[in-house]
């Protein structure tokens, strides 16, 4: 057999259940309880409205730079919604709907985005890692967490998120390879939102899909319409169940779109056209899901209106609570906390010196 074609076990599929008009493919429609469908809808809407509010707060100078998520709600919430509380999420920085789903308070998001470390505190009842800014680096933590879960005999899974840009990082490669070799219960969710700041997906890699990168690691890969929460949900469910059952890791590429700027410091007009954005607006994950729920008779325009009002109130209350809470923050001595379990001598000295110099400065000021 001198020149032989090697049979590759893996094929890559694309999954879409709700089309752009919100019409469902009945052969693929998952059996999701009504209450859960409605909760997903509410969370998507809440995340969208909160994202919009954060943007206006940022423009008013009331919070710092942050990365909006609008347009990607289905791509990350659909996956996270399949998890149990004992599973872990290892996020990048553009999974706010999932964060909220997992119990993160709106206040903590405001406080974090206002430059207070307190906003990063993870409550004891959430098994999630903090946001990870260095692109791709968090993927390896999910691999380690999954390893530890299996070692401890749990059937939990670790789900990690990252963008299309992250797939170019060495840590992506190393993480998927380790997960393949050790057959670990990890679900790798790539939110392919078409852009890594100004770099389009086509310049990020020459591969036709991101999902096919799974072939390099001998693990299953699938591409889903990331603006179709049903497709994301179904793909995640399959991957999670396989992982729980000892079947190892999966790579899910969610094809979606970042409707807003990369962060509030970014000007997307420099690198993409309004027409492109408009095209994707038509595929909006919320309106699509909305259509589905209406057709199913689970939602009415009236109900949505009530929901919108409740959400507006919830956000307003959170903003007020956060602004109140922040008044009591800002003790600079906090920066010396949480360096180590025990503060070493040199840090105690630095802390003391800091206190002394603050006092000195105040004296000076009074003097002047």
């Amino acid at each position: 057999m001198p020149k032989t074609k090697i049979e590759l076990p893996d094929t890559i599929e694309h999954l879409c259940i709700l089309n752009e008009r919100g019409e469902v493919d009945p052969t693929l429609e998952p059996a999701i309880p009504d209450a859960l469908l409605l909760k997903l809808h509410r969370t998507m809407l809440l995340a969208r409205r909160f994202d919009e509010r954060l943007l206006s707060l940022q423009r008013q100078g009331r919070i710092g730079t942050f990365p909006p998520i609008s347009g990607q709600e289905a791509a990350h919430l659909g996956a996270a919604a399949v998890l149990r509380p004992s599973d872990w999420i290892v996020p990048a920085f553009r999974e706010m709907a999932a964060d909220i789903w997992r119990g993160r308070s709106l206040e903590s998001i405001i406080i974090y985005n206002n430059g207070f470390n307190e906003g990063g505190r993870i409550p004891a009842d959430r098994n999630d890692m903090p946001i990870s800014v260095p692109v791709g680096s968090q993927i390896l933590h999910a691999v380690g967490i999954a390893w530890a879960m299996r070692y401890r005999g749990k059937d939990d899974v670790a789900m990690t998120f990252f963008g299309d840009g992250a797939t170019s990082q060495g840590d992506f490669h190393e993480g998927l390879n380790f997960a393949g070799v050790f057959q670990l219960p990890v679900v790798f969710v790539c939110q392919n939102n078409q852009w890594a700041i100004s770099i389009p997906r086509s310049k990020q890699t020459r591969s036709k899909t991101l999902a096919q990168k799974a072939i390099a690691y001998g693990i299953p890969g699938i591409q889903v319409d990331g603006n179709d929460i049903l497709a994301v949900y179904v793909a995640a469910k399959e991957a999670i169940e396989r992982a729980r059952a000892g079947g190892g890791a999966t790579l899910i590429e969610c094809v979606t779109y970042r409707l807003a700027m990369h962060t509030t410091a970014d000007d997307p007009k420099r690198y993409r056209t309004d027409a492109e954005v408009e095209e994707w607006r038509r595929k909006d994950p919320i309106s699509r899901f909305h259509g589905y729920l209406m057709a199913k008779g689970l939602l009415s325009e009236e109900a949505v209106k009530t929901e919108e009002e409740a959400i507006a109130a919830e956000i307003q209350a959170a903003v007020e609570r956060a602004e109140e809470e922040m008044k009591s923050l800002g003790d600079p001595l906090l920066m010396f906390e949480h360096a180590f379990a025990e503060m070493p001598a040199y840090l105690k000295e630095q802390r003391a010196d800091f206190i002394r110099s603050m006092a000195e400065a105040q004296k000076e000021e009074k003097h002047a």
């Binding site: 470390n117 800014v133 260095p134 692109v135 840009g165 770099i199 410091a265 920066m335 840090l347 802390r351």
Partner: protein
């Protein structure tokens, strides 16, 4: 002479060097179409085309490693790492290869690359966007580490870095990027790498700083004079490594009292080397222990508290007055 921000001055340096020498290539994440997230490379794509201004995929190790290959072949890559906080991804390429290829090939190859990265705090940035880890690079033999402090010297030093036959890590103080304007000559100007600069004369004490810390340091010097009648000499290191200790030593011998200011964490920081050099070469002239006014040895806090972390005018004056009373 036009007045420019540091961003504009750096852009001018790149533009002019690219015009003069077609071996100068700019590459990195978002440096092309977007013009760099801080706009340092703005307009270069339009002026020089995709063959010289290269938007890369998101992979810092590859940006550095590819630059090494380009440089070995004879080009002069100027690559950008978007923030200093992501430059550790390039560490192995820089340590294991860029800094060593001249030695390893016994002079056959050299690596005339520049790795630019914005560094430091003070711009209300996200996590991992305010670091200051210049000592990592300064400690590596075979590597040069440069940090300008204003538009004019930034331009002059970047030109020198691009022309330098050896690898240069070029950290740009992002707090200075748009903080003020300075006259920058249109015509060519360079400043030698490996030289520090006296920017204020004084006889009572010496303040040594660089990068974004030059401004509070100079302010402190002015206030020391105005309020306390103290004449502080101020030195801008400009090159961190190879550290030019001659001026430091000369000044320390004159004033006998020295403080070194940096935003990097204190322990094993750049200031320690300054202290060590002064001890080695000016010990018997020192009237007081050399003081370090630095970032603390903790995670730099998120932006609402970072002003407490960063050395400011008050802390510099505090240190100066302690030095004078020693």
């Amino acid at each position: 002479m036009p007045k420019m921000t540091m961003v504009q001055a750096l852009n001018l340096a790149l533009r002019q060097e690219m015009e003069k020498d077609d071996s100068v290539i700019v590459l990195g994440e978002d440096v092309g179409v977007d013009g760099g997230v801080f706009r340092v490379t703005d307009g270069l794509l339009q002026a020089f085309g995709e063959s010289r201004v290269v938007d890369t995929p998101l992979a810092e190790s590859a940006i550095a490693g590819m630059s090494i290959g380009m440089a070995v072949y004879g080009l002069k890559p100027v690559c950008e790492v978007q923030f200093d906080g992501f430059s550790y991804y390039t560490m192995h390429q820089i340590e294991a290869h860029a800094s060593r290829l001249r030695g390893r090939s016994q002079g056959r190859y050299h690596v005339p690359m520049v790795l630019r990265a914005p560094y430091g705090g003070g711009v209300r940035a996200l996590e991992h966007h305010s670091e200051s880890r210049e000592v990592f690079w300064a400690h590596i033999p075979g590597l040069k580490m440069v940090i300008p402090s204003g538009p004019r010297n930034a331009r002059a030093l970047l030109v020198a870095a691009i022309r330098d036959p050896d690898p240069v890590i070029f950290y740009e103080p992002k707090a200075v990027y748009r903080a003020f304007r300075e006259e920058v000559p249109e015509e060519e100007e360079t400043f030698p790498i490996g030289k520090s600069q006296r920017v204020r004369e004084g006889r009572d004490l010496t303040l040594i700083a660089y990068g974004a810390m030059m401004r509070p340091t100079l302010e402190a010097a002015e206030e020391l004079k105005q309020k306390h009648g103290v004449e502080a000499e101020v030195i801008d290191l400009l090159t961190i490594s190879p550290l030019d200790d001659s001026l430091l030593v000369e000044s320390a011998r004159k004033t006998g009292r020295v403080a070194v200011v940096h935003e990097a964490p204190r322990s094993f920081g750049p200031g320690a080397e300054v202290v060590a050099r002064l001890v080695e070469k000016a010990f018997f002239h020192l009237e007081a222990p050399v003081a370090r006014v630095t970032g603390y040895d903790v995670l730099i806090p998120l932006f609402s508290r970072e002003q407490y972390y960063l050395p400011g005018v008050a802390r510099i004056i505090d240190a100066a007055r302690k030095l004078l009373s020693a």
